[in-house]
């Protein structure tokens, strides 16, 4: 800093002052141009690399899935399907009721498994357990229940939709 103070002392030649001002203007203009260049190149590259994510987000915006012939699913079994981009389950319980839940564990994202003989949904990764009727987290590390979907059983298909 001391060198700046020396330069700014009164008695400094006027053209030196002018030189300093144009130098500063040049540096500012150069930095601005450099930033503009970087932005002009970074934007297309970012959009290019982000393309699959944008495609996925338009796919996951789906509100309803029609599962053809799923009404024939035997009691006590599960049908795995894709809701948008992530896996989901259609469960036909032994008591005849239906449920559809997201199959993505709320802990760290593993795909969970329906176990009819234990009457539970289990995640093999870290031992999380969910209720197969409501999706509620019962034991283990999961912090939240599984997302539940609406189920309408029709004549020739099962309609699953977001709540």
């Amino acid at each position: 800093m001391s060198s700046h103070i020396v330069l700014e002392r009164p008695g400094v030649k006027p053209e030196q002052e002018g030189e300093k001002a144009t130098r500063r203007a040049f540096l500012i203009a150069g930095t601005a141009a450099g930033l503009a260049y970087t932005a002009a190149m970074a934007y297309p590259i970012y959009r290019y690399l982000a393309s699959p994510e944008e495609m996925a987000s338009s796919a996951s915006a789906i509100k309803e899935v029609s599962l053809k012939d799923a009404q024939k699913l035997p009691a006590g079994s599960v049908l795995m399907f894709k809701f948008g981009t992530s896996p989901a389950m259609l469960i036909h319980h032994a008591d005849g009721t239906w449920a559809s839940l997201s199959a993505v564990c709320t802990h760290l994202g593993c795909t969970v498994q329906y176990e009819p003989q234990m009457d539970r949904i289990h995640c093999a990764c870290h031992g999380g357990v969910y209720n197969p009727y409501t999706g509620a987290n019962v034991s283990g590390p999961p912090p939240k229940p599984l997302k539940k979907f609406n189920v309408v059983v029709g004549e020739s298909s099962v309609e699953v939709s977001r709540v």
């Binding site: 297309p44 590259i45 959009r47 290019y48 690399l49 982000a50 393309s51 944008e54 495609m55």
Partner: protein, 364 residues
């Protein structure tokens, strides 16, 4: 501890320098000066080639994110060009930059040739440069196939017929390069391995060697400058003065590339079809036009296999002479040999330009 009278910057510099020897590197970097004279303009072209190569690495890695070799290659390039945001621009920049790089390498080579910069002690710079040009041509040839559209299919088919003319081993070489008797997804797969792994692995160390030599020996003066007394010659330090000019040239190159790539986006043809006839007016890329036309012209004089073998022989001899020029025209005392080398260069330029023009003329 920060001693008295030393700033943190000095302390940090010393810390790094003691461990990595940065000041030796800086001294090596400062050593080089660039001659300033009427022909100094030609000194930029090696740097421009280097810049365009860096663009190739960068855009190439971006294309690698979505490109799938093998049976899926056309579909993946179609996806890059039409589905991914700005994919067309990145592909276009890669193709345009490849062409501009070939052009600037050729300008660089001919300027080195006519300024006699291959003479002692720069023979290895010339040889490594020729090897780099050779690898760059294989880069171009292999990259051309990767989209697997009609043009790339036929270009590769025709290009791989050339080694077939080599007696005895020719067909075996062609089959190994092609991965079978026909251009198929096996060909794309091995060209891909060549293009993104083998060639960069060869190119990069060779490029490092080439640049190290330039730094070590500095830019050569053309004979007209060498003839002047030492006090009349002007130079400028490479670091940072000429480097600054180099970077300005890179910016200009970047702008030219951006304009070409966005205003004239690189096209994608129809997917290749092994049963479809070759499209009318098909021709090789401009940097392969001259050898193709020479082979064609020779084929009319000497029809059949004789002409092909003669052509390949002629090329091999011509290229060998070109590569070995530093050992013929050795130094400034070369005299007559120096003049002969100059005429040989002129003949080469006229032959290349002439056959290229004839090639495009006959395509039309």
């Amino acid at each position: 501890m920060i001693a008295k009278n030393t700033s943190f910057y000095d302390w940090a510099y010393d810390w790094v320098d003691e461990r990595l020897g940065v000041s030796d590197l800086a001294a090596f970097a400062r050593k080089k000066t660039v001659p300033v004279h009427a022909q100094s303009f030609w000194y930029y072209w090696g740097g421009i080639s280097l810049f365009l190569f860096m663009v190739q690495c960068f855009t190439g890695v971006l294309l690698l994110v979505y490109y799938r070799p093998g049976a899926d290659s056309f579909e993946s390039v179609r996806q890059i060009t039409y589905s991914m945001h700005f994919g067309w621009l990145i592909r276009s920049a890669h193709s345009w930059s490849a062409n501009l790089m070939m052009f600037s390498i050729l300008v660089h080579m001919f300027s080195v040739y006519f300024m006699k910069a291959y003479r002692k002690p720069r023979e290895l710079g010339w040889l490594s440069g020729m090897a780099l040009l050779g690898i760059a041509s294989v880069f171009g040839f292999s990259g051309y196939l990767l989209p697997m559209d009609e043009l790339s299919y036929f270009a590769t088919k025709v290009g791989l017929e050339i080694p077939v003319a080599i007696p005895l081993v020719g067909p075996a070489i062609a089959n190994i390069l092609r991965g079978g008797p026909d251009v198929t997804e096996f060909t794309v797969q091995r060209f891909f391995a060549l293009h993104v792994v083998v060639l960069p692995a060869l190119f990069l160390p060779l490029l490092g060697f080439h640049l190290w030599l330039v730094q070590k020996h500095g830019n050569a003066m053309p004979p007209s400058e060498e003839a002047k007394p030492a006090i009349e010659r002007k130079t400028m330090p490479f670091m940072p003065n000429f480097l600054r000019k180099d970077i300005a040239m890179w910016l200009i190159s970047l702008n030219v590339l951006a304009l070409l790539a966005s205003v004239f986006p690189w096209q994608l043809g129809k997917q290749y079809d092994a049963l479809a006839p070759a499209p009318v007016g098909i021709h090789p890329e401009w940097y392969f036009m001259s050898p193709f036309e020479m082979l064609k012209l020779l084929g009319t004089v000497l029809p059949g296999a004789v002409g092909e073998i003669a052509g390949i022989l002629l090329f091999t001899v011509g290229i060998a002479l070109w590569v070995m020029i530093p050992f013929y025209d050795k130094d400034r005392e070369s005299g007559r040999r120096g003049r002969n080398a100059h005429y040989f260069g002129l003949v080469a330029v006229i032959l290349l330009l002439g056959t290229t023009v004839i090639g495009y003329w006959s395509v039309k």
